[in-house]
């Protein structure tokens, strides 16, 4: 049943070119056959090559570039095209079963909700009630399978 629901929702969330993010390369970059440095290079793309992002996996985007050439690029070698028209939300990137993410539509907190609240001098006294304990936070993390990692801070280069 769960599987069926997933298949159904996959259809709902199936990416469409309408929402897919356009981007440009910022360097000479190798289009790879898989999201790994070790994978085969398909082609070298020149700086400012236009691509369409299909999905993300870790630090890689699967992209399509004309004419109908697909492959993987490191996400940091791409910049999204600047929006000329104002938009109310980012294009959504949704997560599939394989840890990859795909582009999709808009959701959420209705804009109407944002009209309520009032500036309040006592607001500072309200915020304590939202605080969760360290123990609750740990349960919250475990329930989603978040695993702690030991990683030192990065140094600037």
């Amino acid at each position: 049943m769960k599987y069926l629901i997933f298949i159904f929702s996959s259809f709902l969330f199936c990416y469409s070119p309408l929402f897919a993010q356009q981007a440009n390369t910022i360097n000479n970059v190798k289009l790879k056959s898989a999201p790994s440095i070790k994978s085969e290079s398909i082609k070298v793309l020149k700086p400012d090559t236009s691509v369409t992002i299909i999905k993300r996996k870790g630090g890689w985007y699967q992209v399509e570039t004309s004419p109908q050439l697909q492959g993987w690029l490191k996400m940091l070698w791409l910049r999204y095209n600047v929006n000329t028209a104002p938009k109310s939300s980012f294009s959504l990137i949704t997560q599939g079963t394989t840890g990859t993410t795909v582009a999709t539509g808009v959701r959420g907190l209705s804009e109407d909700e944002l009209e309520k609240g009032q500036g309040d001098a006592n607001a500072i006294n309200e915020i304590d009630k939202f605080v969760v304990s360290a123990k609750q936070a740990k349960q919250f993390a475990q329930s989603a399978g978040l695993e702690q990692q030991v990683i030192p801070y990065l140094t600037e280069q």
Partner: protein, 296 residues
């Protein structure tokens, strides 16, 4: 209307009295000489050596700054969302070097894209930001960035630099007096001057933003805090890429743009360091569905 104002005023007074008591209490224990403040002449020394004592004063000072910021904005009245954001935030700080601070995560009723922090562990994020993010990992990235500002005391140091006041002692008096002035109370001229300095500093720091080095340092720390907590660190890169693609002059982005270095510069700084530590790890979570279910 009158009764509302009176009520407001008496609540102000209560807050001011509590702030005064806290200030007096902290002064007294300092005078008892738990640590000899005279030995420590430079600010950095004070921060490094005072430990818990400093944390408490930082929290008290942060309370005043947060109170000021909150008086000028609105809390989002949605407990589910507030608790969800606190859960993510509290989990992140459990993976930081200052988990014991009194952390608060506050969603503001504001359509624009923005997030900022106050000393002592007050993290603010607008509802407009939540609407524009796509997953819990992206939210975690934005919160981690603000958490880093608190961990490194960026706002505290910036406020001190701007006011040229002594850390904590002068600042806490100024904060107290500043809040009192907002209620048309009077006090000695010297304190009024302090309060004006602080008031100007808060306005300046929170409209112009922190130094570029502070922002870049917070970015570098954000990806690591995210990863330590099990969230996909590259989700934060996706957020910055989205920010870089926004028209910076629209009303939703003007304030954020004013406060931050260009997102393209931030991405460039990150591009040199992201490869090695993160690319081979596989257990990271994005958690898009939980995010959507919680924000909806």
């Amino acid at each position: 209307m009158n009764s509302f104002q009176n009520n407001k005023k008496s609540n102000y007074r209560l807050t001011v009295i509590i702030a005064l008591l806290l200030t007096l209490l902290s002064c007294k224990s300092t005078d008892l000489g738990v640590i000899d403040l005279n030995i420590l002449t430079d600010t950095a020394g004070k921060i490094a050596n005072l430990g818990d004592k400093t944390d408490q004063q930082e929290t008290e000072f942060g309370f005043s700054v947060a109170q000021t910021l909150l008086t000028d904005s609105r809390i989002l009245h949605n407990e589910t969302i507030q608790e969800y954001v606190n859960s993510v935030g509290q989990w992140l700080v459990q993976n930081s070097e200052r988990p014991e601070l009194s952390w608060h995560f506050i969603v503001l009723d504001d359509r624009s894209f923005n997030a900022f922090a106050a000393p002592g562990g007050y993290i603010f994020i607008t509802a407009g930001t939540l609407l524009r993010l796509n997953s819990e990992a992206e939210l975690a990235g934005v919160l981690s960035h603000e958490i880093a500002h608190v961990l490194k005391r960026h706002y505290l140091n910036a406020l001190q630099k701007e006011t040229k006041l002594d850390l904590f002692s002068d600042l806490s008096i100024a904060a107290y007096q500043y809040n009192q002035n907002r209620n048309d109370q009077s006090d000695s001229e010297g304190n009024v001057v302090l309060a004006k300095q602080l008031s100007g500093a808060i306005e300046s720091i929170y409209s112009n933003g922190l130094a570029k080095e502070d922002e870049l340092q917070a970015d570098l720390m954000a990806v690591v805090i995210n990863a330590r907590a099990g969230y996909d660190p590259f989700a934060y890169i996706a957020v910055l890429q989205n920010i870089a693609s926004e028209n910076p002059d629209t009303s939703a982005w003007a304030s954020f743009t004013q406060r931050h270095p260009p997102a393209s510069d931030r991405l460039a700084a990150l591009s040199f360091v992201m490869d090695e530590p993160f690319f081979n790890l596989t257990s990271y979570k994005v958690l898009m569905q939980r995010y959507q279910a919680s924000i909806r």
